[in-house]
Structures are given as structure tokens and as C-alpha cells.
């Protein structure tokens, strides 16, 4: 019968297309691991680049990315959790709340390079921070807000209503209920969202181009008002801006960045899975 045949062909075609999606992902990761693993060594992680970046390690860039990630966390977490509590527990379904939601959706959609322009205009120039760790952290922090807000709101909403009802009925105030019942239950989900957001920020290049990243610095930053090297920008620089750059250093840097970001994704997934297992509701 013809339509049975069509069904068979369609099944095969769909499977092939799914393979076309999945196989390149595996290839990309294997390709970087295979080409980069040989470069990884103690020196690669602990030495600064030398000889016009062609030798040595990535220490200042890696350290810069870690510093920026912490800065991003400080800038984003309080605001994001506050906004998530507002949306999940306090916001009424009115026009103001709709605006907040539209704002968050659009924050998530603004191109990363536009965040870079905003950071340049507001933090570097208007607030006078200059190209600095604080300007870069604030820019990345704002970019990270929508991811953390959405994940935290989801985690807070997932806490069963009974927890709130019982707490309130025992005489607790609304804030006591949130603080002692809702937030502890939602915490693993909030942490998952934070790690995912920070992982994304750690790998970003465009927002730090004009706000913090330095091509090469002979010294490590001394304060939050200094520039720093950063791993994503370093990879961009050594792969496109330095002629005659040895390939193994490029692959090694790409591998370290990939491992850094993917390990954060992995930790987030583990926290989430652990939370689902432990949960009693």
C-alpha cells in the first residue's frame, strides 16, 4: 500500500534529520577535545602568554573570566531574586506586571553586542568607570538577569501552595512565609538558574569588547577599576588578530573555555536532578 510506504519513508527521513542535528554537536565537542587536549598542561593554566602571545599559557585570561563571573554574580543575583519573588509572590495581574514581563522577555532578546553598547554608554562613559572590571561585570550582570529571573520564578512557583497556606495559618507574616518556607524549598532551582546564567555570561564576548576586555596586559588587575584580559576575548584575539599563532594554543584556549562553560551547565543539571530526587512533594 502506498501510504504505508510514505509512512516508512517519512520515518526514515525524520530519523536522518534528527541525526543531522545531533551528530554535529558530538563532532564539534570531540573535535575541540581531540585538538586541544594535548596543549593542556600545568604551565598552560599558570603562565601568562609570552613572545607576542605565541607561547606560554592563558592564566591572566582565565583569571579575568573567573573574576568577571564573580562580578556578574554580585551584580545580577540580588536584583534577579528580588524580581523573581516580586513576580511569583507579590505581582497582581495588572498592567504594571504585564510591563515587567514584557521587559524581561525583551531583556532576554536584546543582542549581546547591544548590551556592550549600553555598557559603554552608561557604565564606561556616563558613570565614569572607564573600561574596567566593574563596568564589564555590571554589563554582564544585566544581560544575565532574564535567565536567572525566569528560572527563579519557576522554582518559586513550583513550591506547593500548601506550604504557604499552613505557614500563614500559623500566624506567620507573608515575608516570614517566603523567607522560611518558600525560599528554602525553591533554593536548588534558583541556584540552577544562577549557575546557568553565569555559565552563559562567562562565555560571552560581545558585551565585554568595549567595557572591560584587554588585548594583552603585562600585569594582573589590581582593582575593580582596572581592565582585565578574558578568555572568550583572548580566543578571539589569538585566532583572528595574531598572525602566525600556533594552532595548538588556539585549540587549547577553546577547549578550556568550552570545559569551563560546560562544567557549569553540568553542575546546574546535577543540582536540578538532585533536587528532584530529594523533594518530598
Amino acid at each position: 500500500m502506498k501510504r504505508q510506504q510514505t509512512d516508512k519513508i517519512a520515518r526514515i527521513a525524520i530519523t536522518i534529520v534528527a541525526a543531522l542535528v545531533v551528530i554535529p554537536i558530538i563532532l564539534v565537542i570531540l573535535f575541540i577535545i581531540i585538538n586541544g587536549i594535548g596543549t593542556l598542561s600545568w604551565e598552560f593554566f599558570t603562565q601568562p602568554p609570552g613572545n607576542g602571545m605565541k607561547e606560554g599559557g592563558i592564566m591572566p585570561a582565565l583569571l579575568g573570566t573567573i573574576i568577571l563571573t564573580f562580578g556578574t554574580a554580585i551584580a545580577a543575583i540580588p536584583l534577579a531574586i528580588g524580581a523573581a519573588i516580586y513576580l511569583a509572590e507579590y505581582a497582581k495581574e495588572n498592567r504594571l506586571t504585564r510591563w515587567v514581563r514584557i521587559a524581561i522577555v525583551n531583556l532576554a532578546g536584546i543582542p549581546s553586542i547591544v548590551y556592550g553598547l549600553f555598557g559603554l554608554g552608561m557604565f564606561v562613559l556616563f558613570m565614569g568607570f572607564g573600561t574596567s572590571i566593574i563596568a564589564g561585570s555590571l554589563t554582564l550582570g544585566i544581560m544575565t538577569l532574564p535567565v536567572v529571573i525566569s528560572a527563579s520564578e519557576e522554582a518559586i512557583l513550583a513550591v506547593p501552595q500548601e506550604f504557604r497556606v499552613v505557614s500563614l495559618s500559623l500566624g506567620a507574616t507573608k515575608w516570614q512565609t517566603i523567607r522560611h518556607q518558600v525560599l528554602p524549598q525553591a533554593l536548588p532551582g534558583i541556584i540552577t538558574g544562577i549557575i546557568l546564567g553565569l555559565g552563559r555570561a562567562a562565555g560571552e564576548t560581545a558585551p565585554i569588547l568595549f567595557t572591560v576586555a584587554a588585548f594583552y596586559l603585562p600585569e594582573l588587575p589590581r582593582s575593580a577599576f582596572d581592565q582585565t584580559m578574558a578568555l572568550p576575548y583572548h580566543l578571539y584575539v589569538i585566532s583572528t588578530q595574531v598572525p602566525g599563532m600556533p594552532m595548538d594554543v588556539q585549540y587549547g584556549s577553546a577547549l578550556v573555555l568550552l570545559l569551563l562553560v560546560l562544567s557549569m551547565t553540568l553542575i546546574a543539571t546535577v543540582v536540578r536532578t538532585g533536587m528532584r530526587r530529594k523533594r518530598e512533594w
Binding site: Y90, P111, T173, T240
Partner: protein, 310 residues
């Protein structure tokens, strides 16, 4: 409700005002509303630096073909064409791939495969764009050049990588859309003798149409805004590509790549500097329109359930 009434009628037993809590709740309220303020600030600062673009350059010249900043020619047409070409290419690749993968995950894949594939797609979402740009630069571009293109750095190279970058979003939204189709539709179709493919093609996909439209829109939003991949692999040639069969295999320059490539070299306050912010204003407005519209289509309550940050 009755509790509050009771309090107001007997004020002497009402609890004392907890000022600490009032302050905390005020801060939470402020944090929520700050999101609106931030979007406004982003737009205000883009305008502050970029407004001269639209005031000082005649519109005809601004949307002209020639982008030669050194000679004071700021025609955005070639950059718009580059962005349009790369974005259209990415969407044409990513949407069918994403929808079909979602169909495979939802309708055909056995549970053990889903257990592997879903985390793998999340991994794809986690790969930094600079790493994919690097791979495009060192690995994909040579392949495309060997295949016969005059250079490996083309609109197609960028479109292909951007398509894969958009896939996690597209797959996730398509899955939600397919999942939302009532089971009765499938059962009904299968019961009257349709094959599984006929059920999907004639019943499930049409019912999931609005979700698929949203997937297309968000794919566009993603691809328009991507910077580092566009900067590294699309060739950095601010020309309007010649129309023809090889239109996708010519080097182009996107709006995002132009900002990234030139902002480091311009004098602050110069017209060139303003125009780069002006391009930022256009990008902001385009993505704002797309995301607001997509959100409207998704409809109120379901939005907060999306994993994609959308």
C-alpha cells in the same frame, strides 16, 4: 478577606507594623520594577549616543549602498543586506531541522534516546558563540572553500553556524507546541486508519501552527543579534551581494559585526561612533518588536513555564 476585616474593626489586637518587613517588601517591589527601568535605560543610552545618526545624516544617504566610514559615507543598505541574508539563511536551515527534531523526540524516539538527546541539545545551547565562531573559522570555512566557493567566509558559513546556535530554542518551542496538541486529535486520526506520518502531517502539525510561527520569529531574533560568529565567519565585506545562484556564497558584513569590528577604532563623539550606536538602536527596535510580538502570540500564562528564558 474576613481576617483583614476583623483587624480593621478591632485595632487594639492588630499586630504591630513590622518596619523591617516593609522595607524588604519595598526592595522586592523595586527589584521587580527595575526590569522596566533597565530596558528604558538601555534605550535611553543608545539614543543618547546614537541619535545624531538619524538627525545629521539625510535618510537617503543613511540607507544608501556605500559604507565607507573614512570618507564619511554611512550607507546602511549593505549591512542590512548582510544581516538579512545571514538571518534568512539561518532561519531556513534551523526551522525545519528544529521542528523535525522535535517531532522525532516527541513521536518516534524511545525513552532512552530522549534521555541522551535532550541533555545533548542543552549542551549545544551552552557552547559559547566564540567557540563556534572559532570552529567556523578554522574548520568549516576551509571545507566550504574546498567545495568550490571563492572564499570560505561567506553568508552561508555564518548562516549554518547560527542555525545550529538557534536550534535549542527552536526545538524546545516546537516540542512545547507539539506537546500541547490534544492526544484526542492523534487518537482520532489513528483510529480512522491514518498512518503515523499522516497523523503528524495532517493533524498534529496544523494544530501546532502558532507555536511553529513563534519558533520562526525567535529564530529570527536570535540570528539577527548574534555577533561573534557573524564577525568571524561571514567575510567582513560591506557590499551588497550580487544577486544570483551563489548569493549565499559571497562574503557579507552584518550589522552586529560592524559594531564589534569598528567600535574599538572610532573617536568618541565622532559621527562614525554615533552611527555604530545608531545601528544598535535599529537592532534594539527590531528585536524588541519581534520579542514583544512573539510573547503576545504565546499568550499570558504559558510564558512563565518556558525553559528557554522566554
Amino acid at each position: 478577606m474576613s481576617a483583614t476585616k476583623l483587624e480593621t474593626s478591632t485595632p487594639d489586637v492588630s499586630p504591630p507594623v513590622r518596619w523591617g518587613e516593609k522595607i524588604i517588601e519595598g526592595l522586592i517591589w523595586a527589584a521587580g520594577l527595575s526590569t522596566i527601568l533597565i530596558v528604558a535605560l538601555i534605550f535611553i543610552f543608545l539614543l543618547k549616543e546614537g541619535l545624531p545618526t538619524f538627525l545629521d545624516i539625510p535618510l537617503r544617504q543613511l540607507f544608501g549602498k556605500r559604507w565607507y566610514p573614512i570618507e564619511g559615507m554611512f550607507g546602511l543598505a549593505s549591512l542590512l543586506a548582510g544581516t538579512l541574508l545571514v538571518t534568512a539563511g539561518a532561519v531556513i536551515i534551523t526551522v525545519p531541522l528544529g521542528i523535525v527534531t522535535a517531532i522525532y523526540l516527541g513521536e518516534f524516539a524511545p525513552p532512552w534516546q530522549r534521555e541522551i538527546l535532550k541533555p545533548l541539545i542543552e549542551v549545544l545551547a551552552g557552547i559559547p558563540s566564540i567557540v563556534l565562531g572559532f570552529l567556523g573559522w578554522v574548520a568549516l570555512a576551509p571545507i566550504i572553500q574546498n567545495a568550490g566557493a571563492p572564499t570560505g567566509l561567506t553568508a552561508f558559513t555564518g548562516a549554518l553556524i547560527l542555525a545550529y546556535m538557534a536550534l535549542p530554542t527552536i526545538i524546545s518551542i516546537s516540542e512545547d507546541a507539539l506537546y500541547a496538541v490534544p492526544k484526542e486529535y492523534r487518537d482520532g486520526a489513528l483510529a480512522i486508519g491514518a498512518t503515523q506520518w499522516q497523523t503528524i502531517w495532517r493533524v498534529v502539525l496544523p494544530a501546532a501552527k502558532s507555536g511553529i510561527v513563534i519558533a520562526v520569529m525567535l529564530g529570527i531574533g536570535r540570528a539577527i543579534g548574534e555577533t561573534m560568529v557573524a564577525l568571524m565567519v561571514t567575510g567582513n565585506a560591506a557590499n551588497i551581494p550580487a544577486f544570483g545562484a551563489d548569493i549565499m556564497f559571497q562574503p557579507v558584513r552584518t550589522m552586529t559585526a560592524t559594531i564589534a569590528a569598528e567600535m574599538g577604532e572610532v573617536a568618541q563623539g565622532s559621527l562614525h561612533y554615533s552611527v555604530l550606536f545608531g545601528i544598535g538602536i535599529l537592532l534594539f527596535l527590531i528585536t524588541f518588536a519581534i520579542n514583544s510580538l512573539a510573547r503576545k502570540l504565546v499568550g499570558g500564562e504559558s510564558v512563565r513555564r518556558k525553559r528557554t528564558g522566554f
